[in-house]
């Protein structure tokens, strides 16, 4: 069973979103997603200052099986891409909700965000997907 921390929000496409005390949000991929991808060998994160639209592919996670886009669940401006991942992509496998975060962004005021789910709803989604 995948680890789904109760204090985060989730997307249908298996990203998680954490709101930080300063109002910026941290984004990563879920434990389920990292498990489905398998061992990551390369992660590309966006550069600070880039403006991203809702649903725009803004990071790439590549494993021995597949390369997948990560979609931004919120519109805004990237404040930081996780610098650790260039040399240590496996951090996403080992600690998807901690050291393996992908990017932080400053959300655009008033902009729409994806349909974010609380943990229990995401858990249900995983069960119906049979993951």
């Amino acid at each position: 069973m995948s680890n789904v921390p109760p204090d985060l929000q989730y997307t249908k496409t298996h990203e998680w979103v954490r709101t930080l005390p300063d109002g910026t949000v941290e984004i990563g991929i879920t434990d389920h997603a990292q498990h489905a991808l398998g061992d990551l060998v390369f992660v590309e994160v966006p550069e600070a200052g880039r403006a991203v639209a809702l649903g725009e592919p803004c990071a790439v996670v590549e494993s021995v099986k597949a390369a997948s886009d990560v979609y931004s669940p919120v519109a805004g401006e990237i404040t930081l891409g996780n610098p650790l991942l260039a040399g240590e992509p496996e951090a996403v496998n080992n600690d998807p909700y901690g050291k393996g975060w992908l990017m932080r962004l400053h959300p655009t005021k008033g902009a729409a965000s994806a349909d974010l789910m609380p943990a229990d709803k995401y858990q249900t989604l995983l069960q119906t997907e049979g993951g």
């Binding site: 489905a36 061992d39 060998v41 390369f42 021995v64 099986k65 597949a66 992509p89 049979g130 993951g131």
Partner: protein
């Protein structure tokens, strides 16, 4: 299956002994009077580090390596979306006639009329079989043909002053090369979902098209192994929005002689001659990604193309003839030898044989799918008929037995079967994409079902037998993570 694997895995450098070698066959040393125009500073001062082995050792080493190959000539190779069909030896033989081999690409056209006639007829046959209005043969691989196709789509929009069209739509099940090609051509990729039955979500398509739409890239049948049933509606939506339709020919084998991409409304297609038209395929060897276009894209075809004048004289069409061409994508006529093989294959099939390819490819796939379902395997799209390939998912085995698709794939090698495509398309978890092709007999298909059934029994009764496979190959499980992260293929002398 018993081979001397320990020896096979040694590099030829590791057999080396100083002073050993077939000295009789060494080149004569240059006479002292011989002059060279190479500058002194570029000349080697130390002899190169080459393996020193006897002739027989060299022969045995390379013969052993060649015997380790998994190939279509030695094994069943049901690699989905790759169409690993038999390559008839006659194609090889005729393409290697000395008159073809000795032809110089810069020789005058009058000296190569036979070769040019073959290329012209190949263009015409490909037009007929795809329903397109023009064909160019020079792209040298599938992805190269894709590049040509999207470059033509861009050139078309630019020629009309329609400069805003820079978005290419791809369904989520697309071949990975489709979004890669669009990006290479400077386009932005927009992905759209497919529904539970494998068809494109038309509402998502309607929402995605607009004044920025350059086109859509599709393969039909899709990589899900099912025919896109509403293709005409898809074409209408994209065309109405001002976009063009690109057909990825990877799955052309399924519809050969039955349905034509031109009739479905496609504007441009690339054909993997090394798949559908049976030229040797794999290992990064020479491919051929011919492109076909509708009338409006014809001026943009890559050059050269072979033209026919006065009904009997063939000549190269180049910049002068096609001033709006996207240009040259290869030296001369692409991989000419591969094109010849495809030409001979098509001539041997004839019109009747062509539609039998599609029929038997789909029959074999549906037979195999049905038998696997009977054996208890789960089809990814149980309500759909297979095209020339189909997907089974081992999600249940992974969950209940902790035996994954990768484990099944590795265990199949022990049965002398090349693994089907694994973990693609990405949207089906734990999937095997299986394409038997029309050139396999029922016996081979039955043997595949027997192997899969036996592996399933092992997975239930002694799973470690499967999870530790392969047991009969020269190597076991490779560390693919380390290979991706720290690739180092260079041999270094230890002494």
């Amino acid at each position: 299956m018993m081979r001397t694997h320990d020896k096979a895995s040694k590099l030829i450098f590791e057999y080396s002994h100083p002073g050993r070698g077939a000295t009789d066959q060494w080149p004569q040393p240059l006479p002292a009077t011989a002059t060279s125009d190479l500058p002194q500073r570029l000349l080697r001062t130390k002899p190169p580090l080459l393996p020193e082995v006897g002739e027989l050792e060299a022969v045995r080493h390379f013969t052993r390596l060649s015997q380790l190959n998994f190939s279509i000539d030695t094994h069943f190779y049901p690699l989905g979306s790759c169409t690993m069909k038999y390559n008839p030896k006659a194609c090889n033989q005729y393409a290697m006639l000395p008159e073809f081999l000795g032809r110089h690409p810069l020789a005058p056209e009058s000296h190569g009329q036979g070769f040019l006639a073959c290329m012209y007829e190949l263009q015409e046959m490909l037009k007929e079989v795809t329903g397109m209005q023009g064909v160019a043969l020079s792209p040298m691989a599938g992805a190269h043909g894709e590049f040509a196709g999207v470059a033509m789509i861009r050139a078309y929009h630019r020629s009309r002053g329609d400069l805003a069209r820079n978005e290419i739509i791809v369904p989520e099940a697309a071949h990975g090369t489709n979004p890669a090609t669009a990006t290479m051509c400077g386009c932005i990729v927009r992905e759209i979902p497919v529904n539970d039955e494998g068809d494109i979500e038309l509402d998502a398509l309607r929402a995605a098209v607009g004044p920025n739409t350059a086109g859509i890239m599709l393969t039909n049948p899709s990589t899900l192994g099912v025919f896109e049933r509403r293709i005409e509606e898809v074409a209408r939506i994209v065309h109405t929005a001002g976009g063009l339709l690109y057909y990825d020919g990877a799955n052309l084998n399924a519809i050969l002689g039955k349905v034509r991409p031109g009739d479905m409304g496609f504007d441009v297609i690339h054909m993997n001659l090394h798949k559908t038209f049976s030229t040797p395929h794999g290992g990064g060897g020479p491919g051929a990604g011919a492109v076909g276009v509708s009338a409006r894209l014809r001026p943009f075809l890559p050059i050269p193309i072979v033209g026919l004048e006065e009904g009997h004289r063939y000549r190269w069409l180049a910049e002068k003839d096609l001033p709006q061409s996207i240009g040259r994508l290869s030296g001369f006529m692409g991989n000419a030898g591969v094109l010849l093989r495809a030409y001979i294959y098509m001539r041997m099939l004839g019109r009747e044989g062509m539609s039998q390819v599609g029929e038997y490819a789909t029959l074999n796939a549906n037979y195999l799918l049905t038998r696997l379902k009977q054996a208890g395997f789960d089809a990814a799209y149980p309500s759909r008929r297979a095209s020339h390939e189909f997907i089974i998912t081992l999600k249940r085995q992974a969950r209940e037995l902790d035996v994954t698709t990768m484990d099944f794939a590795k265990r199949l090698l022990d049965h002398g079967i090349h693994a089907p495509t694994t973990y693609f398309p990405l949207l089906v978890p734990e999937c095997l994409l299986i394409e038997p092709t029309e050139t396999e007999s029922k016996d081979v298909l039955d043997a595949f079902v027997a192997a899969m059934t036996q592996i399933q029994q092992e997975a239930e009764q002694e799973p470690e037998r499967v999870t530790s496979a392969p047991h009969t190959m020269p190597v076991r499980r490779l560390d693919d993570v380390r290979a991706a992260k720290q690739l180092d293929l260079r041999w270094k002398p230890t002494a």
